[in-house]
Symmetry: C2
Subunit: 340 residues, 2 copies
DNA sequence: CGCTGGCACTCCTGCAGGTTGAGTGCCAAG
DNA sequence: CTTGGCACTCAACCTGCAGGAGTGCCAGCG
């Protein structure tokens, strides 16, 4: 009984604080939430919650604000993702339709996510390693430079310029192209390296070195983890709503957004496409972002996730709404990639 | 004589204000710049400069700050681009080397520019219309979906999924590929539409409709101005140095950076690869950015510019340094694209 | 045992008033 | 045309003083 009310108080504090951005006091609380008890009672509960480390006071004579631990509790136990309304679903679907290539899908997703959550959105490109090679195209740029274009099953296209210290003839390129495609097409990108490995042995000794160079470059392009780190960010203008101190939260945020490696770390562990991961405040891997939370999830056609997407925002955010928006977008993106 | 000193005073005011971000008074000015006259004299000159609208007072008992008109004058008449030091040149060169495809070049340029100028950098992808078609690759995604990959002379790669309401055979695709490439390869992209137009007439009536659909999609992809709008932004974290009021300058800035259309408008007129364009404050096309300046220039292999790059920052910026950095980066990018 | 009203206490917030100092404009003299 | 002097202005800063929101604690009541 008393436990129940304490939790109701915590929930009320979180909701009020998220809405008003101001420490919330006992009196305001009973007025706004019809708790049916007096402020004094609430004060007792608050004292208990504070002892448990779920809420805190900025200074002695102020109201309470939730701590990271308080948010954690709220997210884990006091809330469940509310389903999107039919109208929202329709909006999402129509927004993502009409995308005619992968870049488009990613771009639209990031915009959509930013708009729905009013936060900074991050979408990672489908990961490299798990996709298969659809086709390899080789185009001569000059007599000694080759442009290799990898087309992957996810619709992703990677390009790479290869320098070859030999004169390239059209016939040679054509032969290379067919051989590379017969060996690599259809294989998982992680296996393609192996599939291509034997290729130079098939040809005459004099062209072998040329083939080796090209194959090596292709293999390197495929295993290049740098290309794996592609992420897109959107909705930076939503930082404006932080209201918070500039130096303290916005600057480190902007700096983090510049570094894709950092972003990947943020999304990092959220790879399950069925669950939405929430990382609150200092739970995250980046110290400077200790006053921001990350809400992320995996997406991908099959059960296995291709990559992650999510948002970052102040710890003081509307978790239920944000979490369901993230989940909804991830689902739609998954189905779209499934079709394409 | 007296005119000369007035200009020296203006220059000193601009330089001091840019360095300190504070209104500069007559006394500080003579101390820091060894003008060889008394503060009173400088005050007279200041009054004159104020009458001419080149400087202004934030409030009665404060120092002077340059007006937009003042900066304009400074840029046009009081300064010349200082050449980069040898070390800087080397840094630029080494930073841009090792880029192995167009994406890489663009990405590195934007980072470099942001770092050199400590401002927000913008780089536009080489424009579509002026490049030529190097190769068109068609890959079957399923029996009725085709992925078209356009490879352009600039190294840019565009992709597009085409839905065809007909069963596609390998032979058909191979034929299409050769025909499309014979017609389009080597032509300017603006002419490619015409070159491809007659293609459906060459084939048997029964396959004509299929060919038409594919050709139409290709032509659309080529003339799609949306793909022409690709720009990359970097160095947003430098906004942190604005110090200025948040609502007033950073928020509109972040909003503008989200909208690529707006960015293109900003870079818009700076297409000459030989000149650096400076747009100061309200001279720019965006009202909300009336307290920011744009420094931009064109870049491109030959005399004709392929696209633009530049930076945006507060009107209060180091114009000489910024201008020369922008020019230097543009030149290096041009030469690199020329090689590739 | 839990709830409540009362009360003293803390401390942020806002306002009024006074002081300081940088900077100006103007003027008369060199 | 330049300069030193002088009176004036006004933002910035400090100070002191209510006002008020919020708390903790306690004693009484069901």
């Amino acid at each position: 009984m008393i436990e129940d009310r304490k939790l109701a108080v915590l929930r009320a504090i979180v909701e009020d604080y998220v809405a008003t951005q101001e420490p919330v006091g006992s009196k305001t609380l009973v007025e706004r939430h019809k708790l049916g008890v007096s402020p004094a009672t609430v004060r007792n509960d608050m004292a208990a919650l504070e002892d448990e480390g779920l809420i805190a006071q900025p200074h002695t004579s102020a109201g309470r604000i939730p701590t990271d631990k308080g948010y954690r509790f709220f997210v884990d136990r006091l809330t469940s993702l509310k389903p999107m309304s039919a109208a929202e679903r329709r909006a999402i679907a129509s927004f993502l339709e009409g995308a005619h290539d992968l870049d488009d899908v990613v771009q639209r997703s990031v915009r959509l996510l930013a708009q729905l959550t009013q936060q900074v959105a991050i979408v990672q490109y489908p990961t490299f390693a798990r996709s298969t090679v659809r086709h390899v195209e080789l185009v001569a740029l000059s007599t000694s430079r080759l442009l290799a274009v990898l087309i992957l099953s996810t619709g992703r296209v990677e390009q790479r310029v290869i320098e070859v210290p030999v004169e390239l003839t059209d016939d040679l390129i054509a032969d290379l192209r067919t051989r590379v495609n017969t060996s690599a097409a259809g294989t998982q990108i992680s296996d393609a390296a192996m599939a291509l490995g034997d290729l130079p042995d098939e040809v005459t000794p004099e062209s072998r070195s040329t083939y080796s160079i090209v194959v090596a470059a292709l293999v390197e392009a495929m295993s290049d983890h740098k290309s794996d780190e592609r992420v897109v960010v959107g909705g930076t203008a939503n930082l404006a709503r932080f209201g918070d101190s500039f130096e303290q939260s916005i600057k480190p945020m902007l700096e983090a957004l510049e570094e894709h490696v950092v972003l990947l770390k943020l999304l990092g562990e959220a790879t399950s496409p069925t669950e939405v991961t929430v990382r609150i405040g200092h739970e995250g891997p980046i110290d400077q972002l200790s006053s921001t939370s990350v809400v992320a999830t995996g997406y991908g056609a099959s059960r296995e996730a291709l990559a992650s997407l999510g948002i970052v925002g102040p710890t003081r955010m509307d978790y239920p709404g944000t979490m369901s928006a993230v989940r909804a977008v991830a689902r739609y993106v998954s189905t779209i990639l499934d079709e394409g």
